[in-house]
């Protein structure tokens, strides 16, 4: 096995079984990350490596230490898959196989989480057992797209591992030019602001698109994120192609009693300075020491409801807003989702079906009009929101823009 950096301070050694020779090689730089109050991933890795004596973990630690020393990454991508699927696994092979043979393979299974990231211990224990059996034992909870990332397995073990967890109700998530894993906020399970059932919709939509998740066939990636209200706790607007944001369209519900209590507790100044004066559309005002809401001018930012959660809640007429085209930096620079459908009622199954049908129309438009490696937000920017709306049959409304155009450069009929 490869030994490196003999002159390391061997901090890692300290945890070695007293007397006995340490299973791990010295990783002086990594060991620096065992210090300090925040939980250390290095300590976790080393502890597990020593217990399980998995050589893959040792090899990965060695290569990572080397990356720290040389400031370079040494993984290269490839293709690894399970029967019938084309994605869901990020293949990693070491570029330094001769130097770190134990790190030769380190593939990752992206596993779809349960909506809202809710678990019972049995689900997780079974998953841990399967993963310790077939893989490295290293799990990311969760990846930024929401996947449970089972990190570190050899290609030979992949199918068996998948079959085992699949029998426990787990399925792979997305990778490549495919529908991606979704994220939903905790929603109605534990949040008073939820305007629709984020968990149910997440489950329904991602199950419907399971085939597109497993077999890449899009121009590029497509992500759903489900937030129960405009606080957007799932970061849908900047981090998904289609953000589903809870919305209401009648008046904010006011509990007068709770309101009075809140005001006497927090004081009038706090009400004026931190609630009324922070309303983005100045829809709040003060009248005889009470808060008055001009609901027609409320832009549903959530602020007053957030601050006075005991006294205020979203109205009774609840549903969701659909925003489209968010993504991060690559190529064109980050862009946020654009408001496309301000209010969509979501109560029964038929509403869910309507939602899915609309999503499909949108994705079909993108697939037939977009370029390779072009996110839908880029396609809309290139072809124009007008062309998109015509393509999917949605009406243009002022809600879609912060202001109408300020240049005359469009084609009128003649």
């Amino acid at each position: 096995m490869t030994k490196i950096d003999k002159d390391g301070d061997g901090a890692g050694g300290q945890e070695s079984p007293a007397g006995g020779e340490d299973f791990l090689n010295p990783t002086p730089m990594l060991d620096e990350l065992e210090k300090g109050p925040w939980p250390s991933f290095v300590r976790g890795l080393k502890e597990m490596a020593r217990r399980t004596e998995k050589t893959m973990l040792r090899g990965v630690l060695d290569q990572l230490e080397y990356s720290y020393q040389t400031k370079t990454g040494y993984w290269q991508g490839g293709m690894v898959s399970v029967l019938g699927y084309g994605g869901g696994i990020i293949s990693r092979r070491s570029m330094l196989q001769d130097r770190f043979p134990e790190a030769a393979e380190f593939h990752t299974l992206r596993v779809q989480p349960s909506p809202g990231l809710h678990y019972n211990t049995k689900m997780l224990r079974d998953l841990c057992d399967s993963w310790e059996r077939h893989g490295s034992g290293l799990i990311a909870l969760h990846g930024q797209t929401g996947d449970v990332m089972l990190q570190g397995i050899e290609e030979a073990r992949v199918q068996d591992c998948f079959d085992e967890i699949n029998q426990n109700g787990w399925d792979l998530g997305g990778a490549g030019a495919a529908m991606r894993t979704g994220v939903s906020c905790v929603g109605p399970a534990r949040c008073e602001h939820a305007c629709y059932d984020t968990l149910r919709l997440h489950q329904a939509v991602l199950s419907h698109f399971a085939g597109e998740v497993h077999r890449p066939q899009y121009n590029y990636k497509f992500k759903f994120k489900f937030s129960g209200c405009p606080n957007d706790c799932s970061n849908g607007i900047f981090r998904s192609d289609l953000a589903v944001i809870g919305m209401w369209r009648d008046a904010i519900l006011v509990d007068e009693e709770a309101m009075a209590a809140w005001i006497s507790k927090n004081g009038l100044d706090f009400l004026v300075n931190n609630v009324i004066n922070r309303c983005p559309s100045r829809a709040l005002s003060l009248a005889e020491g009470r808060l008055v809401i001009d609901n027609g001018n409320c832009v549903h930012c959530m602020h007053c409801i957030n601050v006075m959660t005991e006294a205020l809640s979203p109205g009774r007429e609840r549903g969701l807003a659909i925003l489209l085209g968010g993504k991060n930096t690559l190529k064109v620079g980050a862009m946020g989702c654009t408001m496309i459908v301000p209010f969509f009622r979501l109560e029964g199954q038929e509403d869910i079906d309507r939602f899915i049908a609309l999503s499909e129309t949108i994705i079909e438009w993108w697939n037939s009009n977009g370029f390779d490696h072009e996110r839908i937000g880029e396609t809309i920017e290139r072809l124009g929101l007008k062309q998109f709306l015509a393509g999917v049959g949605l009406p243009a409304t002022p809600a879609m823009v912060s202001r109408p155009r300020s240049n005359p450069y469009y084609k009128s009929e003649y």
Binding site: W38, P39, S114, D129, F162, C279, C301
Partner: protein, 364 residues
């Protein structure tokens, strides 16, 4: 292998969540009334019917060992009827209707080394990415940066010492899988990809690579008889998009990577519209294993926000109120010409007005 396999894949999608919900959650599903924050790290949700649910939140390394996950499960079994959840920011949440158990849960989590906090006006766990541990284009190691930052910000996680929520993200290349945040710590490759002319023709679809470049910096070229590509060193701004299409566009480099810090990113719609982070520090060294220079700048930014921000005012909202010039002064950061946008919509970021602030005598 597919031969002796009798299991038939079920394309089930997300794992079913029904039996993952605590009974109190099931009962009050969609019926929550309001919440309170009895103490740092703890949420108290009250349902219309009067039911109460306490949530204890704790930070994790995100890159978890099965050992750690099993320990967390032990606690959930002991105090939470076998239920738990994780947050979108890699924190774990243990819930119980029984106020008495809250202290015990906090104690148990602390014992296994997990800090309780991240709720309310404080720093919460960092959105981070793969880095040297797993990705193929990382210029640094995300987990290591996060560990270093959070060691310094530990008190800001477990205590309430800030005007409002502070979201931090860190990413190991400009692609920024970590996303927008109040403070985004993003490393950047700082030189154009180098091409191995022998390999590229064999491994990559050259036209696809050419098409991938947002600034049309890639042109076909023949190198000793072989079809290859060339990169216009003037145009290329090291975005790495071509590497995604072709690993031979070698963007990784031991020397040429630097950190930048972006502030004012905001995802919520509360008060101000969602906003992108803006570059306020650049060319910080990529200095493992502890990245002290990056750490120091983050501390300075938080310090200024801590003393000047108002309740509920997010970092970017504070800056909008006091002005960018003041921000650079009070954080002692240097505004450079590279911080003036020069990309597609640069014009829209220019100050097309006479509205400007001047420090007053006593401030100068």
């Amino acid at each position: 292998m597919a031969m002796k396999r009798e299991w038939q894949t079920v394309e089930s999608g997300p794992h079913d969540y029904k039996d993952a919900l605590h009974p109190v959650v099931q009962k009050n599903y969609g019926k929550w009334q309001y919440h309170q924050m009895p103490r740092p790290g703890v949420l108290k949700h009250v349902a219309q019917g009067g039911d109460v649910l306490y949530t204890v939140r704790a930070g994790t390394p995100r890159q978890d060992s099965v050992d750690l996950i099993r320990r967390i499960c032990d606690i959930a079994d002991k105090y939470c009827d076998g239920f738990l959840r994780f947050t979108v920011r890699n924190n774990v949440e243990l819930m119980t209707p029984d106020e008495a158990k809250v202290a015990a849960i906090i104690k148990a989590l602390t014992e296994i080394g997990l800090p309780v906090g991240g709720v309310g006006p404080c720093v919460t766990s960092v959105h981070h990415t793969q880095g040297w541990l797993h990705c193929d284009i990382p210029a640094t190691d995300a987990s290591g940066v996060v560990k270093s930052i959070m060691d310094s910000l530990y008190d800001d996680f477990v205590k309430w010492r800030l005007p409002s929520k502070v979201r931090i993200s860190t990413s190991c290349c400009a692609i920024n899988c970590g996303g927008q945040a109040d403070i985004a710590i993003v490393v950047k490759h700082t030189r154009p990809p180098r091409i191995n002319h022998e390999k590229i023709g064999r491994i990559c679809e050259l036209p696809k690579v050419v098409a991938r470049c947002p600034v049309a910096a890639i042109r076909p070229m023949v190198v000793d008889g072989r079809q290859s590509l060339t990169v216009d060193q003037q145009k290329c701004m090291y975005c790495g998009a071509c590497f995604g299409a072709c690993p031979v566009m070698e963007i990784n480099h031991p020397e040429h990577s630097k950190f930048g810090i972006w502030v004012g990113g905001k995802n919520s719609n509360a008060r101000s519209k969602p906003s992108l982070g803006c570059l306020v520090a650049q060319n910080l060294p990529n200095n493992p294993p502890r990245w002290p220079e990056v750490n120091e700048v983050v501390g300075r930014i938080l310090g200024a926000y801590r003393s000047e921000g108002r309740p509920w005012e997010r970092l970017g909202e504070w800056i909008e109120r006091v002005g960018w010039s003041h921000f650079f002064k009070s954080t002692d950061l240097l505004f450079t010409e590279d911080m003036i946008d020069n990309y597609r919509h640069a014009r829209m970021t220019f100050n097309q007005s006479a509205q400007v602030r001047f420090p007053q005598r006593h401030e100068r």
